[in-house]
């Protein structure tokens, strides 16, 4: 049986760790709340944008917009030849399998694209993805670690605008984003979303609008916003999902710490009792010996 002093030291260590994980759990819970509000807040805009594009869109117009160009009708012939993959990960760890799930999804997608003979360049957001792909020594087209857990529309614009320009110029045939979809705090599956070419939301034109300027010019203005917004939502949802994942991970760690403490405490008590019993036995034994 371990020495009581040794046990005491381990108990203290587990107690301290549990204190830290407990605190992180609480911090994540409050950050999750705010991040969740941002996810919900971004919804009406995305919905309105999708509705309007759906109403203005018609297949005849599609031919004229570079952002709607389908890979099949690409300038260089059939199929997706060159594509870009944007992977969003978090900057910080201690959130369970959150980042490794995202990275795994990105690798799966990369393999899938490369199996179709598509040259794919990789754009990374977040430290965890950056360090992983540095480790595998894969070529990375761009990387950013400065976004953190409060992404703004500006961030999304900076990242997506160059890709949109290159897509419009025919330099890229497709752009995918791998992110964590925020279904709820406990369900955040890694997801791949194709943001370019734009898949127009399907909705039949229901009302005859007075359009000012023309439908074409409005679409021309709104399509880039739509792409930007999709990416912005991916950023916001991943940020919220990260906090959700961290909260769960830290809750598990706290619970595991508690279980460990219970066992250690019990072992310690038994060891202490054993020591006392032994000392008593020795004293009694000694006294008996003196009598004799």
């Amino acid at each position: 049986m371990a020495k009581p002093r040794e046990l005491k030291r381990r108990i203290r260590s587990v107690q301290n760790t549990r204190k830290i994980t407990k605190t992180m759990e609480l911090v994540s819970t409050s950050k999750l709340k705010r991040a969740q509000d941002r996810v919900v807040g971004a919804r009406p805009y995305a919905q309105a944008l999708a509705e309007v594009i759906g109403e203005l869109y018609s297949p005849e117009l599609a031919e004229r917009f570079p952002l709607l160009r389908q890979p099949g009708r690409s300038v260089r012939g059939a199929g997706v030849r060159r594509s870009a993959l944007l992977l969003i990960t978090s900057n910080r760890g201690l959130c369970g399998a959150f980042n490794s799930n995202l990275i795994r999804e990105a690798r799966r997608r990369l393999e899938e694209l490369e199996a179709q003979d598509t040259h794919t360049e990789l754009h990374l957001v977040g430290k965890k993805g950056v360090s992983y792909f540095k480790f595998t020594r894969r070529n990375v087209a761009s990387q950013r670690v400065d976004i953190g857990d409060r992404p703004t529309l500006r961030h999304a614009e900076e990242l997506v605008q160059p890709l949109m320009d290159r897509f419009a110029a025919g330099d890229l045939d497709a752009v995918d984003v791998v992110f964590a979809k925020f279904n709820s705090a406990v369900s955040t599956p890694p997801t791949t979303m194709r943001i370019l070419p734009v898949t127009p939301p399907t909705k039949r034109r229901s009302v005859n609008y007075i359009l000012e300027p023309s439908a074409e010019e409005i679409l021309d203005e709104l399509l880039p916003l739509y792409v930007q917004n999709q990416f912005y939502r991916a950023l916001v949802e991943t940020a919220a999902a990260e906090h959700g994942a961290r909260r769960t991970a830290m809750k598990n760690a706290t619970d595991a710490g508690q279980d460990m403490l219970t066992i250690l405490q019990r072992t310690f008590n038994r060891a202490r009792q054993a020591q006392i019993t032994q000392e008593l036995a020795e004293i009694v034994g000694g006294a008996e010996a003196l009598k004799g």
Binding site: Y45, V207, P213
Partner: protein
Amino acid sequence: MMRVSVISAERAVFEGEADAVVAPAYDGLVGILPRHAPFMTLLGTGIAKIHRSGETIRLRVAGGFLQVASNVVRIVAGSASPADS
């Protein structure tokens, strides 16, 4: 009266009833009164005013579009925030 909502990319900024709306369209101000015909226009940059029973709410908007359909006005702007008078 008509329903008005002002939505920015980050959140819904305003939601409520109004008697009139004046918004900066891409080529100048547009005024919307109740029972306006279905209408859609691009927005420029400027101050949108929402008039409601004597008071006026002023919001700074930039980019996006304005949509009117069945007495519902939607101002969907890239950015929208309360403007100081």
